[in-house]
């Protein structure tokens, strides 16, 4: 079993449940993230990953369960309050401030901790440079290609000075070479002292980046541990390939 | 009923007020039906709705004053004309200038309302004009109140129009296509429905409803360029109360608003009585924006 993270406990999610009408989107999910870790949350489409993020970051209210951030119960806090305390999310479907420049976009994040406009803009420059967006700072966010928007979504969140960053599929829709650029960016963020919990479908990135991984299926955590161990877990294979395929595999093994 | 210093009335008076409220409400429902149809499909609030009503009222008036055409006979002319006008307005102006963005559409319809209202002021001056018909003093005596034939016709008209709209939407191919566009625009596009045409048709039907309303209102209401503004506020209230996009909601909402307004006038006085409409409008928007019969969106 891989050793738990590097530092103090950062986030504990226990038995979180969310129903939409008859559908149980998140079903008693529990996980923990320690300071300085990069933790991945993986699972098939529709497993409830984004809903879980929305619950943790205060965009949705859970029906049951608890979320503790740095030892404090944060259930019921509004998204902006959580962002101010250092728990910041990005969106899978990016939401750039389209009519503003990249610099102004990032500066909005910087304003979370910085009041003067000039300093926020300077901070935006610094974050933009550090995350490889230096050449794009004066572009309108609405004019960026998808890779640039994904990067901006992350840069804006980093500029808020988060302790824990929830990244929702920042690599989706990117080509392999663009993915290879994002991977070091996430490492850079961690080196800057930010803990990262990420939802990701790009397995190559999950394997190289993360210290640990959780697998969510039908709203429940079905496996956790070191990335390599997790993907070899039979329950996980079944979740991804579907029950029919799992039975066929089983049948082949029994024969 | 003697509380808060409100006057007390006999039940006959109150019932009479309520019944005249039903007649008044049917008029509101007529105006609101087109508005709710347009909202249900295009998801826009048509601020030009009142102005369109006013324009149709002028059409009815001039058909009567220049050619001597009875307002009910004018239905045959004004309703098709209203459809064409609405279709052209949506395809030629609203669809073209609003880039498919809701808040822009809202402002474009406001711009159209400003143009139509001031165009009427420029062309026809602020003078009130009213059709004179020989049958607007006869009617039915309900004992507690009296309704003239034009009021009864408006009530019947509102029921017929609601039923016709419902049949059209549920029993015809065009109705099904409109519903498909209302529910899932992109999907409708993918199966080959011409969405812009459907939008035009919907707006055209909305305008035709306004034309029906104009013909039925003409015998009892005088028209002036500001006529639409008064009605559009009430029509918004009816649509919001009934639930945006719901025909039954528009009908029931119309009756409720009509009754509330009449009782409001009875108890609070002619002027302050109108506050009940604004109050309902605000309260419904705040506490139940889906209205009585509306479906939650999203």
């Amino acid at each position: 079993m891989a050793a738990f993270g590097r530092g103090a406990l950062m986030l504990i999610v226990s038995d979180l449940t969310k129903r939409f009408g008859g559908l149980v989107a998140v079903d008693g999910a529990s996980l923990r993230v320690d300071q300085g870790e990069i933790v991945s949350l993986i699972g098939p489409n529709g497993a409830g990953k984004t809903t879980l993020f929305a619950l943790i970051s205060g965009f949705l209210r859970p029906d049951a369960g608890a979320v503790r951030f740095e030892g404090q119960d944060i259930l019921g806090r509004r998204p902006h309050q959580l962002a101010q305390t250092g728990l910041v999310r990005t969106f899978q479907i990016v939401r750039p401030f389209a009519n503003l420049t990249v610099r102004e976009n990032i500066a909005t994040g910087a304003h979370t901790r910085i009041v003067p406009r000039r300093e926020a803009l300077e901070k935006a420059d610094a974050v933009g440079q550090a995350l490889g967006m230096g050449a794009l700072l004066d572009r309108l966010a609405g004019d960026l290609p998808i890779a640039g928007r994904k990067r901006l979504e992350v840069a804006r969140a980093v500029a808020t000075g988060p302790k824990l960053l929830l990244l929702d599929e920042v690599m989706a829709g990117l080509n392999p070479s663009e993915i290879d650029e994002v991977t070091p960016m996430i490492r850079t963020i961690r080196e800057g002292g930010v803990t990262v919990l990420l939802i990701e479908h790009v397995m190559r990135a999950v394997m190289t980046l993360s210290d640990r991984a959780y697998v969510l299926n039908s709203g429940a955590i079905i496996a956790s541990g070191a990335p390599q161990a997790v993907v070899e877990n039979p329950a996980v294979v079944e979740a991804y390939l579907g029950p029919g395929m799992a039975q066929r595999l089983k049948g082949t093994a029994d024969a | 009923m003697d509380f808060l210093g409100l006057p007390s009335y006999s039940w006959e008076t109150v019932l009479g007020s309520a019944i005249s409220g039903v007649f008044l409400g049917s008029v509101y429902a007529l105006v609101a039906l087109g508005l709710t149809l347009i909202y249900g499909v295009l998801h826009i609030i048509n601020f030009a709705h009142g102005a369109m009503l006013m324009l149709a009222m002028y059409a009815v008036f001039f058909l009567w004053s220049a050619l001597g055409i009875d307002p009910y006979l004018a239905l045959l002319i004004v309703v098709p004309a209203g459809f064409v006008f609405g279709y052209a307005l949506q395809r030629g102006v609203i669809g073209r200038f609003s880039h498919g963005r809701d808040e822009i559409t809202l402002l474009v319809t406001l711009g159209i309302a400003i143009m139509i209202e001031n165009g009427a002021l420029f062309a026809f001056s602020a003078t009130e004009r009213q059709v004179q018909v020989p049958y607007d003093f006869d009617g039915i005596d309900f004992g507690v109140t009296f309704a003239v034939w034009p009021e009864i016709a408006a009530l019947a008209g509102s029921l017929v129009v609601t039923l016709a709209l419902w049949l059209f939407m549920t029993r015809t191919d065009m109705g099904h296509a409109i519903q498909a566009v209302a529910k899932e625009r992109r999907g409708a596009e993918l199966v080959g429905i011409d969405v812009e045409h459907i939008y035009g048709v919907t707006f055209g039907i909305g305008a035709a409803c306004v034309a029906v309303a104009a013909c039925l209102l003409a015998p009892t209401y005088a028209v002036s360029p500001q006529f639409g503004y008064l009605f559009v506020l009430i029509a918004f209230t009816v649509v919001v109360l009934g639930g945006m996009g719901s025909f039954v909601g528009a009908l029931v909402g119309g009756f409720l608003i009509g009754i509330t307004e009449q009782l409001g006038r009875l108890y609070l006085g002619e002027s302050l009585g109108l506050i009940t409409i604004s109050a309902i409008f605000i309260l419904v928007l705040l506490f139940r924006p889906t209205g009585l019969f509306g479906q939650a969106s999203g």
Binding site: - | L107, S271, I282, L285
Partner: protein, 336 residues
């Protein structure tokens, strides 16, 4: 354009504004500019909430009208000096803003629903102003006594019987002062954290919240500031015309003027409302002159043009006249 260049431009514009009464002796022309500035103030009030905050109000008359009524009634009923009434009037704009904002934003009204509820409030206030006769004088309206004593010009804040220059320019300077203060406030807002957060709420409220922006608070601040400025325009109106009634105060005309100017001039820009007001009034005036010469004076013509220009700008100039000027400046090599 750099800020230095912009500031220079504004200083030149302000200097021209201050010098105008000395340069223009025709009362009619000065009055024309004065009216333009009045609409530019109303438009700037709307622009704060609508242009920067993305919350389109269709009932901004509610703030203008309340400011006007408070300024008038405190003098009329309680004999307040206009100077003493002024802070109450402006605070009333913020108060009405806080009330409408709290209700609308607490219950999450956005887009068309926000437009509708502001319209409903303006209408509710109009009905109340008509009906509560014992307070508001009802449909008759409130008339303030005209001061005819040239010694009391400053205490009554009325310039009709002042010495010639003040008679010529007193009200002009009054609205110019309001305008300069309002525009400085918006200029500073644009370069502050509050401004950045307000814009982020306009662009995407969820994304703003994820970045720590308290959208509710930001919108509340915006609607209060907006209400104050519109109420200040109401104060000017009452001091100049010494009269207000429910239609003037809460009728749709002021609500429409307030939103048309900034949309045409350029939403979310400091200069937009001024550009829009100047453009609209010039066009309107020219049209009135031209058509008036042809067929005699008729009402409605200027507003028909406003409506047309509004639709055309929405269709073809999403960034308004300010955006047009900006592109032209870039093409000339101004760049940023």
């Amino acid at each position: 354009m750099s800020d230095t260049l912009r500031i220079t431009g504004w200083v030149v514009l302000a200097a021209l504004g201050i010098a105008a009464p000395f340069l223009i002796s025709s009362g009619r022309w000065l009055e024309f500019i004065e009216l333009t500035l009045f609409v530019a103030v109303l438009g700037q009030a709307w622009n704060i909430l609508g242009g920067y905050g993305g919350q389109y109000s269709f009932g901004h008359a509610v703030f203008f009208g309340t400011g006007a009524y408070v300024q008038a009634l405190l003098q009329f009923r309680f004999g307040f000096s206009p100077w003493l009434a002024l802070p109450f009037a402006i605070a009333s704009g913020a108060g009405v803003g806080a009330m409408i904002g709290y209700l609308s934003f607490r219950y999450g009204l956005r887009g068309s629903y926000f437009a509708l509820i502001t319209l409903a409030f303006a209408e509710a206030f109009r009905v109340l102003a008509r009906s509560i006769v014992s307070v508001t004088e009802g449909g008759r309206g409130v008339s303030l006594p005209l001061n005819q004593d040239s010694g009391e010009v400053w205490t009554t804040l009325q310039f009709t019987f002042a010495e010639p220059f003040l008679r010529h320019a007193g009200y002009y300077y009054m609205i110019l002062t309001v305008l300069i203060l309002a525009y400085i406030a918006v200029w500073r807002m644009e370069r502050s954290r509050f401004g950045a957060q307000l814009i982020s709420v306009r662009e995407n409220e969820d994304a703003a919240a994820a970045l720590g922006v308290d959208a509710f608070r930001v919108k509340m601040k915006a609607i209060c500031l907006s209400g104050m400025i519109a109420a200040a325009a109401g104060v000017y109106y009452v001091q100049k015309y010494l009269f207000v009634d429910p239609e003037i105060a809460y009728g749709p005309a002021k609500s429409v003027e307030a939103l048309v100017a900034p949309i045409i001039g350029g939403l979310g820009t400091v200069i937009g409302p001024l550009l829009g007001a100047a453009f609209l009034h010039s066009i309107g005036e020219v049209a009135k002159e031209a058509i008036g010469a042809l067929i005699g004076p008729r009402p409605g013509l200027d507003l028909i043009l406003y409506g047309m220009i509004l639709v055309l700008v929405l269709g073809y100039l999403p960034r308004g006249l300010a955006g047009l000027l900006d592109s032209a400046w870039r093409r000339l090599g101004g760049g940023r």
